[in-house]
């Protein structure tokens, strides 16, 4: 089992969800995040003083999957989120040792899906 963490552009969420659905990945969790990467920020100004905003709004997705779903999930995210422009984001894969479904107490592969 793996945990896939992906940072994507906020406005891409719908497309990514769509792509994941097609890859039969229906479970996920999403958080707001601020990201700082290769993408340069933009300049706001407030009352004449510049603000360099280099923490840009991103979404963080967290998806726990069984091994066989790792590749399809990554592909789906890439497909949904890629625009080819800097700032598209990254995907991280972490090992997941245990997974418990709170409602039933089920564990492991069963619980992830």
């Amino acid at each position: 089992m793996k945990i896939i963490v992906a940072y994507i552009q906020p406005e891409k969420l719908n497309d990514v969800k769509q792509a994941l659905y097609e890859a039969k990945v229906f479970r996920m969790s999403v958080t707001n995040a601020l990201g700082c990467g290769q993408q340069k920020g933009y300049h706001e100004s407030y009352r004449g003083v510049d603000i360099e905003v280099n923490l840009l709004k991103k979404l963080r997705m967290e998806i726990a999957v069984n091994e066989e779903f790792v590749q399809p999930t990554i592909e789906a995210i890439v497909q949904g989120a890629r625009t080819g422009q800097i700032g598209d984001g990254k995907i991280f894969v972490l090992p997941l040792e245990r997974c418990v479904r709170i409602r039933t107490g089920q564990e492991g592969n069963e619980a992830v899906g």
Partner: protein, 467 residues
């Protein structure tokens, strides 16, 4: 910076206006003998107090439009509302007021620019001598007339901001604003209130269901059409387009806006007497009860249609009732006011659905439904519900007055519709050609606050900006 050039236009306009008018002989009007000073004072107090209430409606519009749209465009909408009032104040002083009320032809006034025409207000009636004779019936100083009429003009202008929210270039909006305040609105005003051809025919539009609200509403419609819908608003599903909801980000602000508008409307309608006469009590009562009935109507029909009483529709319903009663507030009974308001509440919900689901025209705050559709209804309603006993303007169809008044009202509705659509399309397509009307796709996604004004409305708040 090159695309900022249109600004030059505005500056030039202001400078020009300023200097021209500085040359004109300004000064205060020595009061001619035979004026009832006490009546003048009282009427002036009334006109100013109500004008100020109407001015405050700008805040109401700003909040309604802000609350019903997304957080990422909030500063932009507020700026639009602030600036259309600001440039409108100048444009209407420079040319609008003259076009609307000064001596001219059936189509428009052609004198009295910069408020500098001859005028011996507050002398009124036969004692009046001056170029603004369409307002000679009001016994208040000229500047009270200007200020009162200005805030009405600003209302018409600001309505359009709502339907164009979230995708319009700021500079283009400013350009549009000058034209409506300085020309499109005053011309209609001249027709109906300024002694023009519709006034001659006997159109009854007490406080402006047509003059103010329909004008704003129809222009809002053309703006929304020329712009096209916001990104993501409609989803092409094969041949069929489906509509997606883009929820407003701050319903409490929008609700406060509606309360402020309701409050301000007690300036709008009762103030339109421009005199402290007892009729204002009747007008205030019809205005209030129509708004109440409008809210109830919209709540009930949204409950029936969607299974739940929709808050944003109900808020629109109150405004619908207010727009609906605006033309007839002085001419109809309280009972009729309830019916007019209630029907307006039904109309607004159906119109929102019709525009959104059938025509796929994206009007984020319902400006067209509220102001254009209910403005039409209100104008026609005078032809149906007017009673001789109120305001002395004759009976409508339901009270034995026959179809005549209704026909005249319909003519006014249609003429204004044609004028506004024509002007609106010409204006918006011209702006589109000259300076562009819509922001880029990227800017729209990022939000106009950052891209057009370089700032955020809610700094520090964590907001999902997935749409």
């Amino acid at each position: 910076m090159t695309r900022r050039f249109p600004l030059a236009l505005i500056i030039v306009l202001i400078v020009l206006a300023t200097s021209m008018s500085a040359l004109a002989a300004e000064g205060d009007s020595p009061s001619p003998p035979g004026i009832d000073q006490s009546k003048v004072a009282m009427d002036t107090v009334w006109v100013l107090v109500t004008a100020v209430l109407v001015m405050f409606m700008q805040a109401g519009f700003a909040l309604v439009e802000t609350g019903f749209t997304r957080a990422k465009n909030a500063c932009n909408i507020l700026m639009k509302n602030l600036m259309d009032f600001s440039v409108g104040s100048i444009a209407y002083w420079a040319v609008g007021f003259g076009i609307m009320f000064a001596i001219g032809n059936q189509f428009m006034g052609t004198t009295g620019w910069f408020l500098a025409g001859a005028d011996n207000s507050p002398a009124s009636g036969d004692a009046y001598v001056g170029v603004y004779n369409a307002l000679s019936w009001a016994s208040v100083p000229l500047e009270a007339k200007y200020f009162f009429q200005l805030v009405f003009c600003a209302t018409a202008a600001t309505i359009v901001a709502g339907s164009m929210a979230g995708r319009t270039k700021f500079v283009s909006y400013l350009a549009y604003s000058v034209v409506i305040s300085g020309f499109i609105y005053p011309v209609v005003g001249h027709w109906i209130w300024g002694g023009g051809w519709l006034a001659k025919l006997g159109v009854l539009d007490f406080a402006g269901s047509t003059v103010v609200h329909s004008v704003g509403g129809w222009l809002a419609l053309t703006g929304a059409i020329v712009l096209g819908p916001r990104l993501g608003k409609y989803h092409a599903n094969g041949r069929k387009k489906t509509s997606r909801a883009i929820p407003g980000h701050n319903i409490p602000l929008a609700a406060l806006g509606v309360f402020i508008l309701w409050f301000g409307w007690f300036g709008f309608n009762p103030g339109s007497t421009m005199a402290a006469v007892p009729d204002i009590a009747h007008i205030a009562a019809t205005t209030n009860i129509a708004a109440a009935a409008g809210a109830i109507g919209a709540m009930l029909i949204s409950w029936l249609l969607f299974g739940k009483p929709d808050a944003s529709m109900t808020l629109n319903g109150a405004l619908a009732g207010l727009v609906g009663i605006t033309a007839g507030c002085a001419f109809v009974s309280l009972t009729s006011a309830i019916i007019i308001g209630f029907v307006a509440g039904l109309i607004v919900v159906l119109a929102v659905l019709f525009l959104d689901r059938v025509l796929h025209i994206d009007d984020p705050v319902g400006a067209v439904a509220v102001h254009a559709f209910c403005g039409v209804w209100g104008t026609l309603a005078v032809g149906l519900f007017a009673q001789e006993a109120f305001g002395g303007a004759g009976n409508g169809l339901f009270f034995g007055g026959g179809f005549k008044q209704l026909g005249i009202q319909a003519l006014a509705v249609v003429s204004v519709l044609v004028w506004c659509l024509a002007c609106g399309f010409i204006l918006f397509y011209t702006i589109k050609a000259l300076m562009g009307l819509r922001v880029s796709k990227e800017d729209e996604l990022k939000g106009l606050d950052i891209t057009e004004h370089g700032m955020e409305a809610y700094s520090g708040f964590q907001i999902f900006t997935t749409q």
